[in-house]
Symmetry: C3
Subunit: 263 residues, 3 copies
Amino acid sequence: MNRYSPVLDAVRKDKPLVLQITNAVTVNDCANITICFGASPIMSDDPDDAAELAGKADSLLLNIGTANAKQIEIMRSAADSAEDSGIPIILDPVGAGASAFRRETAYRFMNDYPLSVIRGNAGEIHSLAGKDACVRGVESDEAADLSLCAALAQESGAVVAASGAVDLVTDGKSAVEIANGTPLMGKICGIGCMAGSAAACAAAVAPPFDAAVFSHCALGIAGEKASIYAKGPGMFKQALFDEVYSLTADNLERYAKILEVKV
Amino acid sequence: MNRYSPVLDAVRKDKPLVLQITNAVTVNDCANITICFGASPIMSDDPDDAAELAGKADSLLLNIGTANAKQIEIMRSAADSAEDSGIPIILDPVGAGASAFRRETAYRFMNDYPLSVIRGNAGEIHSLAGKDACVRGVESDEAADLSLCAALAQESGAVVAASGAVDLVTDGKSAVEIANGTPLMGKICGIGCMAGSAAACAAAVAPPFDAAVFSHCALGIAGEKASIYAKGPGMFKQALFDEVYSLTADNLERYAKILEVKV
Amino acid sequence: MNRYSPVLDAVRKDKPLVLQITNAVTVNDCANITICFGASPIMSDDPDDAAELAGKADSLLLNIGTANAKQIEIMRSAADSAEDSGIPIILDPVGAGASAFRRETAYRFMNDYPLSVIRGNAGEIHSLAGKDACVRGVESDEAADLSLCAALAQESGAVVAASGAVDLVTDGKSAVEIANGTPLMGKICGIGCMAGSAAACAAAVAPPFDAAVFSHCALGIAGEKASIYAKGPGMFKQALFDEVYSLTADNLERYAKILEVKV
């Protein structure tokens, strides 16, 4: 068995509590995918509540898709508490290429906290790595650039995951490509956000690198299975939840398209 | 016909306007389940707007799943207006066992307003009833404890509904258990929140005790019907909406598993 | 081919970036329907972020369904920037008949900005046109009144679209009725909000009048197609996404029920 497949059963056995300070657009999807993976989601919109919950949670997801000054304060309150208790912090820099506000918000979290995983689409990750952004909005169809991703991993100390047609995960020394997935995943809002939640579930029970690889691979395989019978984005999203819910370590072992690449 | 079955047609006939100040995670589900039950949802995020709407609404739901200081102010503005106009107020103390902030928020509403129904999962209700919380996050698999629920009902003056594998409703003098439902209901985010919205729909047209029993029984029967053909959480949630929408008083009469228990 | 059918392929070709400052209840539906139409959604909850994004976007949607003072500030920041860059601004006055706060909020946007399209249900539009509101909440089953709609169009300078069993679009000089749609569209939360998002997608690539007609017609036809196999509101909503996603200009040409009426 590859080293990523057992992460699924570890999540289901430990049922980690995953605190998620996230955007208003996909928050329901993030909660449901967390449950489908076998973990327990909790969201918060208050700094004291978030700090207390981060002290009890097993991992913390920060997703800046609709961040503002008030929510950043809540995120920092949660992250301070998460750092104190030593749980992994996952950052999803949604739209980092789309506005200076988002890019700077992502940078500040990167500089101020010991992030375990930074995961975004390739455009967002490239933008954080200093490449002049040609991102419009929150979507990206760029292919992940290994040297940019590795540089960001080295600078931040975090595992970097850049999603796209092929996903790339690197800690600056090792790297893998994950070729699972299906084009319909690009036709629903929130697939990236769900990958962030999945990474936070996995990071509670596995090393950051393995968590990042597992989450993208598992979501991709579930998407492949869903696309067999769900032909439009509406039904596909529901089928994706169903397929994550019924995913097995054997599915992961059998269908994973994980390739080690040289940094 | 048992006394709970006619509540469905009463909701559909009166189409009550149900003002819901609720969390960002499941707000869409709350709106849709309200429509499926035959009532009309309206949400608000402004204190003046909420106060005016509460003056026109037929019931008010307060759900603290992502409450913060600002939203509590909106809830109080709505609740002041609701108290003035005499409409029922339903409190869903989401996560009351998970943080001091939530527990204290729930207490304040309990002490300051004449609540018709307090409904949460068993862990949340027990926590409000003073039991040392062993709740992690917003989920709970505890079985409802009748004496704790009855004590909370007596203290608060509200009907208390504690959901779980078996739901319990009590006003401190009488109590019933509702054994409807299906395990998939625990695998989607928002089932408790939807039960709160359903209770608010029903409380607009029926006494609080009947409203609380009806809402849990109706949602449970709809879930049983949905689980016949929807095998994963994604499709199941959509099927649940469909089954609530097509539910009949005859379904309720035929499938209700309601048992009176001694307090 | 009628002049509205080509709008679909224009959206898909240009993939406009549609900035949406919208309500918490249906924001996920707005994002997904935007993607299904072929455009790219981005949401924002911060004034600086919104201003920067509006400078890059191709159209701006303002939906006041859960507006408050803070969000109005964000909307104004986005609208100022949108006006500077000359992109179309679409207003969805959700609940304008339900509270003074909403009505006044809608008026202020109408008076302060050069709106391209105002679209709401008939009750909301009538209420903005000065008719004494008999609207309860955010729903309405009134039939659109042409003289009220035309008066509002003339007063505001915007194209006015009033949705209902039959939709009405007018710029004060010309008017068309659109008889597409199916009753199930009234049984899901967010159909009006999605029509607003669709109008914003279309207004990025077509004149406001055509955009308003197209969006209601296209959503109506997709709804008709979905209702053939989806019998309850839960499955219907997913099917609606699927049918918008797979809609063709030929479908529009074949099934459009558009009737010019005299103002």
